[in-house]
């Protein structure tokens, strides 16, 4: 299956701003991050020393935060749009 990744601010500079990602069917957020964070720099950006997603990392599936879904076990579907971004800082 193919999902669309949109990453913003510094995350976009590390991961790429917008691109399609091919994953195995029934992949979840955890599996997606394994692919996205293959490099050490990208891993350190998203995960802390204990391997948990950093508090300031927001991950949304189709506009919904994964915390309101099944967290990193949120299952992905073909055509999903996943947004990854740090805390907002507009205004």
């Amino acid at each position: 299956m193919i999902i669309k990744i949109k990453a913003f601010a510094r995350f976009g500079e590390f991961l790429g701003k917008e691109f399609d990602l091919e994953l195995d069917s029934r992949s979840d957020i955890d599996g997606m991050l394994s692919v996205l964070c293959a490099s050490r720099d990208a891993y350190d950006l998203i995960f802390d020393e204990s391997g948990r997603i950093r508090e300031y990392v927001n991950i949304l599936k189709r506009g919904r935060h994964i915390q309101s879904l099944d967290g990193i076990r949120t299952v992905l579907e073909d055509g999903d749009e996943i947004a990854i971004f740090p805390p907002v800082a507009g205004g």
Partner: protein, 135 residues
């Protein structure tokens, strides 16, 4: 009007449009690029979600305060010092609601709307994203 755009906005026209007969007060907030030793800012938005969130905040403001018009325009792209970033225009029969709604709008926007700012330095050495997890 709620908008996210690279184009600058015409404040006079927006104020003129806000002069509805029911309005006795119009409060305007204009955010501009401050010179903190920078040459400008790059502003990025998750536009689809940002517009949805701005719509929600607008609905909340209309429920909480007696206002008759609300305009919010946030710019994106590369801006120079003193360029306009954000315009909020609240029209209400009375000033207290206009002030309160304008403050509510900017406070909630800063907390909830997916927009990010990168400070651009004079020495040409790239820039720095504003906020936790962005630098």
């Amino acid at each position: 009007m709620i908008a996210i755009t690279e184009e600058d906005f015409n404040i006079d026209k927006i104020l003129k449009d806000a002069k509805h007969p029911d309005n006795g007060a119009i409060v305007t907030f204009l955010g501009i690029v401050r010179d903190d030793g920078i040459v400008g800012m790059e502003i990025e938005a998750y536009t689809d979600l940002a517009l949805q969130e701005l719509d929600k905040i607008e609905e909340e403001a209309l429920e909480r305060f007696d206002i008759r018009s609300l305009d919010v325009i946030h710019r994106t792209g590369t801006l120079s010092v003193s360029d306009n970033i954000l315009l909020i225009v609240c029209g209400a029969p009375h000033r207290k609601d206009a002030f309160a709604a304008c403050e509510y709008m900017i406070d909630e926007l800063k907390k909830r709307v997916p927009v990010w700012k990168k400070e651009l330095y004079k020495d040409g050495a790239g820039g720095k994203w504003v906020g936790e997890g962005t630098e």
